[in-house]
Amino acid sequence: MIAEAGLGALWLAAALSLLQLVLGTAALRPGGGADPNPLLRAVRPVAVAQGVLAALSFLALIWLFLRTDLSVALVAANSHSAKPWLYKFAGAWGNHEGSMLLWVTVLAVAGGAVALFERRLRQDTLIATLAAQAAIALGFYAFLLVASNPFTRLSPVPVEGNGLNPLLQDPGLSFHPPTLYFGYVGISVAFSFAVGALITRDVGPAFARAMRPWVLAAWIFLTLGITAGSYWAYYELGWGGWWFWDPVENASLMPWLAATALLHSVTVLATRAGLRAWTIMLAVVAFSMSMIGTFLVRSGILTSVHAFAVDPLRGAFILVLLALYIGGALTLFGLRVHTVKEGSTFEIVSREAALVINNLLLSVILGLVFIGTLYPLVTQAMGEEISVGPPYFNRVAGPIALALVAVMGAGPLLRWRRDDWRELVRRYAAPVLISAAALLLLVLFAPGIGILPLLGLTIAPAIAAASVAPLWRRNLRRTPFFVWGMVIAHLGIAVSLAGMASESAFTKETLIAASPGQTTHVGPFSVRFDSVNPIAGPNWTAIEARLTVRRGDGAAFALAPQARMFSSPPTPTSEAAIRTVWDGQLYVAIGEEDEQGRWQLRLWWKPLVTLIWVGGAMIAFGGLLALLGRVRRARRGQPQEVLT
């Protein structure tokens, strides 16, 4: 019954999205727009109802998973009655169909939220926006109902389910995918705003101010989702790495890069009425990257190791949707964007110019990541098989990212429209001195680290100083939230950069085959391998190593890495043991036993690695403050822009 109710809600939501599209189009028809109010009054509740129905459908799926209703094919294929309830719950989206339902739900809920809360956008633009959102939703409802129905029943009902991929059986699964999707799919709102504004020729500062909070909200979730995903992969995969440049990661990074550029260009549009066409382009690109990412991941076209993993029907379906939506939006862009008025001009040394450089560099990184991710496909079309790995990405994206961070330090110190470069030099003197000092210290005390980490560690402290500079001589209690937000987000970038550079410059690794009783060393730690014990969990058994660790003469503490074997499906995983101290993390994983009864132990000492994710959290928190600041200011009806 629940499955049928969920499926019914999904069909109804699809029908409402069609209605929303038709009503919206009718309202925008030439002549029909004379009095859009009756239609507008209809479009808004329809959008809200569509969001509610999609959410109900998703809740039905969660319920089925919580009850382990094995008569539903998806539950039987991906769940198991012996699983802890948290993974039953999160298992609802730990598979293709469930994650696509979550995807569509976020799309519908985001559209509903726009219908409920957006009050500043011109009415006809709002209708066009909601119609565009409905058009996107309609295609993905069709995809779910035709090619990925999550509610299909199974007959006969199996006695037990197949279980969830053990790598996913982690609390991270309950947090990371929904957060990421809220950002990933939430950015669809920016796409729809752009399409709406192109249709009604309403690209201007007021439009930008209305769009900005939605971009910010999606960007916050995206930032959090990527940060959480990075940490999850770091401790769950047991390789000690925090970013792997694999296609799935790139699929989430590319929308983030585009959204970050958009966040900055929309500010130029809102404040100085500049970068109009560019902002529209970025809004289209950001969500296009989300859809392309979904396609790359869901069609299996890039990650396939075996042909059977590729599902051409699903891939082709999403590809058609891509062609319709992205192709449609870009066609509209080509037809309409020249009617958009040119914005006001600015000098080479100005806040606008710094933001333009920011946008260019972000776009270049985006392009390089995009090319690197797709390059295997291109060469494959030419009959050659290659894979593109971290060395490419680090080498090409690393230096540009560093340049970007350096510009980021300068941007907030510049005035809008025009500034004096001598003033800039004066304001930038302190950060440059800090950089020089950091470089000197590094060369003296840590010789022989790679060029990129060295540059990273050199500029990170300077950028941190430059980031807080906008607060200089301000009355801190009267400083608006969005200035605080910018400061904290930029500081977060510096913190994260310091973590990345430190991790790659100073990590110490020890890989040994050890017998119980043996002592080894990694970085400042001495590690005694006490014993190996078998232990059992709810749906797994494991070999657990007991280690006693001591830092110098400090107090001893215990670490217990495990090599787990999950029972359903039978899969080995490595559960690393991690000890976080104030200046880094000790990361220990246990491998296999060799013939002499020795165990592989991998130990890493990663100084300041935690800063990577602390920085990520700060960036997201800065975004949140900025969002609160913008919304508060809009509520009070204060003028939006103070040229800070």
Binding site: S288, A323, G334, L374, Q380
Partner: protein, 175 residues
Amino acid sequence: MKRIVLWVPLFAFAVFLAVVASGLYAPADRNIESQLIGQPVPEFDLPPALTGRPGLSSAALRGGDPHLINIFASWCLPCRVEAPQLAELSRRGIPVDGIAVRDRAEDLSGFLASYGDPFRSIGADNDRRVQLTLGSAGVPETFVVDGRGVIRHQHIGAITPQDMVAIIAAYEAAR
């Protein structure tokens, strides 16, 4: 001029679509053939996987007659699918030697009892070392080795009834 620039994104996207669409229908996975085809079988000597039946060594393959080497395992589902075809090959007088990968004697005898037993000898390859030396990446795989111990043909995956002609032809060619 400026009008043209505005269409560049659409054009770039069209190129992307074309590349991806071609990729979608030409999956990247091709079978990776062993580099040893046309080469002598590398030296190995596997202990018997079952008591009462000989193991398999490279020396035994140089006995003057061609053989099939079937790499299989009791835990491997496609191996059950190909079992009738192997039985048929054996019935036609083609000698089939087995290499059991990461297997246990009791599972193995159960497997042979259920799905038929075409094997003259079965070597136990418990750490997959011999399988990898032969250039085989998975189970099941079947090699045709001629009388001088040279690998003549490799079949990757389960032998289906449609594959029989090719296998028998390769065997005949190796005589």
